[in-house]
Amino acid sequence: MSLDALAEAAGMARAAGPADAVGGCPARFVATPGRADQLSALLRQCATEGLTAVPRGDGTKIDWGQQPTTVDVIVDTARLTGVREHSSADLVVTVGAGTPLRALQATLGQSGQRIALDPGSTEATVGGILATNEAGPLSHTYGAPRDLLVGVQFVRADGTVSRSGGKVVKDVAGYDLGKLLCGSYGTLGVITEATFRLHPLPISRVFLIRSVSTPAEVDELVGEMLDSRLAPTAIEVDLPPPVERPVPRQLDGTGPSGSGTLAVLFEGSALGAQARADAAAELIGGRVCPEEQAPTWWGRYPFGPDDVGLRLSVPVADLPAVIYALGDAAGAPVPVRGAAGIGVVYAALPGDLPVVRVAGVLDAVRRVLLARSGSCEVLTAPEQLRAELDLWGPVPGLELMHRIKEQFDPQRLLSPGRFVGGI
């Protein structure tokens, strides 16, 4: 396909550069459609010519998932932006998929509202957040992006523009395709527009911060919070590596255990949030502080660009066992951070470990998780490791997922190979 033909279909296109590679796989073109019909024309053309396409927002998670087998065209959503409709009284907003969440929250904030989403990649676009189902501390109360998405418009691999759900918060007509798109890593379609349910911005946010030293202690304190009637909005734990060695490069198993922090967020009225945080402090100890003094690590991933970034999801009562298992397998305490109240935490392994070591850690942890209905996903890893690793572990229902992919994208043109089981 010529660049001209791409530009004509999408309205804007250019040749790709080295910075456009997806997880190490070089791209040929970058197309930037400005409307759903342009995206449709673009994907129709790709389908005709058998070209592969990978959607990209701000690219904050472009190195998540497996490296695609080929990337002919990057579908950049940078022009699919803006608030299409904000019905503040109906608690819904419809936005272009390329809209950065941060900008959207600023707009909504002017009406005293928000999307109750606070993912770790702060520059992320709405489409990217949906495609990876990326959630932060607020998921303790409000769930993942799929729980807040009420309607979605997307373009299928053959160029068909489709819609599911709608623009009202309650709607059960038809299959909820938004659920399938959330966390599908751009393998089923390219999201163009999303409608979210909104929540009022709380008047006040107050944190309770309490130091913790072991996963067992975390479990006990989290249990106290969940059993209380104080309705915390979020419960996050941070178990950093030992201070002496910021990242355990040499895993010899002799490092001292890290000293961590449990942070609990209370949102509500000025009086109420403070009173609840104070009551929580009486229950579990710790220091109550205003939002300005929130922990710097709050809502940030514990892994950097050179690390192996893991997401563990386990039944909340099994969290300590799994954190211990991770440390045992790695031979040293591993930095862990995340939503302790719902059992979804992130961890970092050094990216310069040999692949057999990382694979060994994953195997060991997944064996422990198997009996507990938990999972350990590798979200991201340095290129040389990624291709050699099983990023997802066992995936129940994988055969059915392949069948869905076969129906939505029989030519395997959308982000091929990036997702579970080579989907």
């Binding site: 019905s87 109906d90 608690l91 005293g112 998921s139 769930g143 799929r146 299928r156 068909t160 523009v161 489709s162 819609r163 709608g166 623009k167 009202v168 918060v169 309650k170 709607d171 059960v172 038809g174 299959y175 909820d176 395709l177 659920k179 399938l180 959330c182 966390g183 929540h199 009022p200 911005l201 969940l226 059993d227 209380s228 009637r229 309705a231 009225s269 109420g272 609840r276 997401r311 999801s313 039944p315 909340v316 009562a317 099994d318 059992g343 979804v344 507990r372 209905s373 938990g374 999972s375 995936v395 129940p396 229902g397 994988l398 059915l400 997922m401 069948r403 869905i404 076969e406 939505f408």
Partner: protein, 510 residues
């Protein structure tokens, strides 16, 4: 267990059951029945026409189809064996829970098998530490909260039929309830399910943990109205029972004031656990049925419930009272205890059955509108009702714009039932035109499948069918529901027309 009371239409609306036409079952069905008897036991397989008649309809009494075979599953393996046998024989099957669905999602297929799950009523496990309860699909919604109650936990989704409806049915329909506004729907509370796929394979979707690798198949399955398989085990999450629940009943002299109060509450940043609204006719019916003591002379009442930590709720409750008074609320009653709260809710939750007191028959609809359009929608419903010369009682989940117009008619009058359905259809059109939906919680079923094409474009429906084709390429799971036009998998969309394939759900329609 008693029969469903909540949508207990006091009379079959002018349509009697189908006559026993004496048609002999097909050889295929006879063979399938034999095989089922061998595999799961003769006592669980019904083929006697008199027994089959019990299962002709669900909560949507207007459509009746006698199933070819009824299987009374008493074990998970019965379901697996039955679905597998159906797949082998190429015979369609329909799963049925308590049969309280209002859109006809459990209407049988005439030449198919109805799998009754109401004997699968085991609470498999209660795990308060992880806030999970695992149940079989026939377990009644309210039982889950009962099981969790000793641990100060509860199951949040509370459809009005919660005393009789089953979790399996809730999953199929993505059931809602009065407290969706704050707590969400069934899909936000079901964490995992064991599902028998239409080819008889068993898969586990989701699980105890919050997140799982791969596509969210569970999210697609919930609310698929039995068209993607049969759930044989469901893992739900339970929530901590809030410290305080405060309920108030507020009477207004105008719908506009009541609706305005709802808007003001939302605009003030309060998310109530529930805001329900009833109009004068619904109030009259509820009063006649359960003597709930609603304010006399009210043109509209709101039931407003707030829950959470006392320190937050007390303040919000004061604000809500002020907002209601500013909108000329003429009577505000506050539930002093659980008994008074129960009475306030009784009037609302029994509203469907209650209209049976003031009308020989009724037809209930379930549409959604952007909540802010409520006053004009009510006026328009009134106009449509006058035009059709019928009365409509209105009950709403006002917080999220979910309307339940109850169309009253006299089934003794020829054609009245048809007129009621037509009026219901016009109200749904109105909802779609305003940017809403044809269903907020009752599902599409057979009742509203023709309206799907009004809410969605052909491309949207074709895309949904792709999911169907992935799960059920032979179209055996609950065929003839949800989609306006059946489609064979493997074909390109747009080629087929409705006339090509007979609609399997189309038995005899009365």
């Amino acid at each position: 267990m008693t029969q469903p009371q909540v949508d207990d239409r006091t009379r079959d609306p002018g349509r009697t059951g189908i006559a026993d036409d004496g048609t002999a079952p097909s050889a295929r069905m006879v063979r399938l029945a034999e095989r089922l008897r061998e595999r799961i036991g003769a006592d669980k397989v019904l083929t006697d026409p008199a027994q089959l008649r019990t299962y002709e309809c669900d909560g949507l009494a207007a459509v009746r189809v006698r199933p070819g075979i009824v299987v009374l599953a008493s074990h998970r393996d019965d379901v697996v064996q039955t679905v597998r046998s159906c797949a082998e024989a190429g015979v369609p099957f329909v799963a049925r829970g308590s049969g309280t669905g209002l859109s006809g999602g459990a209407i049988p297929v005439a030449d198919g098998v109805l799998i009754v799950l109401s004997r699968l009523r085991q609470i498999v496990s209660v795990d308060p530490d992880n806030a999970r309860v695992v149940v079989e699909p026939g377990v009644i919604n309210l039982w889950v909260s009962r099981e969790a109650a000793p641990y100060d936990q509860a199951y949040a989704p509370d459809p009005s039929s919660q005393q009789v409806c089953s979790i399996g049915g809730n999953v199929a329909e993505n059931a809602g309830g009065a407290h969706c506004l704050k707590y969400g729907f069934t899909v936000n509370h079901v964490m995992g399910a064991e599902v028998v796929l239409p080819d008889g394979e068993v898969v586990r979707l989701g699980g105890t943990a919050s997140e799982h690798p791969g596509l969210d198949l569970l999210g697609a399955f919930i609310g698929s109205e039995g068209t993607l398989g049969v759930a044989t085990q469901v893992t739900v999450r339970t929530i901590r029972i809030p410290e305080t629940v405060q309920t108030m009943l507020v009477g207004f002299h105008s719908v506009r004031d009541a609706a305005g109060t709802v808007s003001d509450i939302i605009a003030s940043g309060i998310v109530p656990a529930a805001i329900e609204m009833m109009d004068a006719l619904a109030i009259e019916a509820a009063e006649a049925a359960v003597q709930c003591g609603y304010p006399q002379g009210a043109v509209a009442v709101l039931v407003i419930e707030l829950d959470g930590p006392a320190v937050e709720v007390d303040e919000q409750f004061r604000q809500v009272r002020e907002l209601a008074e500013a909108r000329h609320a003429f009577e505000t009653r506050i539930a002093r205890d659980a008994a008074e709260r129960a009475l306030m809710w009784k009037g609302r939750k029994s509203a469907f059955a209650a209209v049976g007191r003031i009308s020989p028959a009724y037809y209930v609809q379930d549409g959604v509108i952007p909540r802010t359009r409520l006053p004009e929608v009510l006026e328009e419903i009134g106009r449509l009702a006058d035009e059709a010369q019928m009365r409509v009682a209105n009950v709403f989940h006002a917080g999220d714009g979910n309307l339940h117009p109850l169309i009253l008619f006299d089934d003794a009058v020829p054609g009245a039932a048809h007129d009621a359905e037509r009026l219901g259809g016009a109200i749904l059109d109105l909802c779609v035109d305003l940017g809403g939906s044809i269903t907020g919680e009752h599902g599409v079923g057979v009742d509203k499948k023709s309206k799907m094409a009004r809410q969605f474009a052909g491309e949207d429906l074709d895309t949904m069918q792709l999911v169907r084709c992935a799960f059920d390429p032979d179209g055996l799971a609950n065929p003839g529901k949800l989609f306006p036009t059946p489609r064979l998998c493997g074909e390109r969309p747009g080629v087929r027309t409705a006339a090509d394939t007979p609609d399997p759900a189309l038995g005899e329609v009365f």
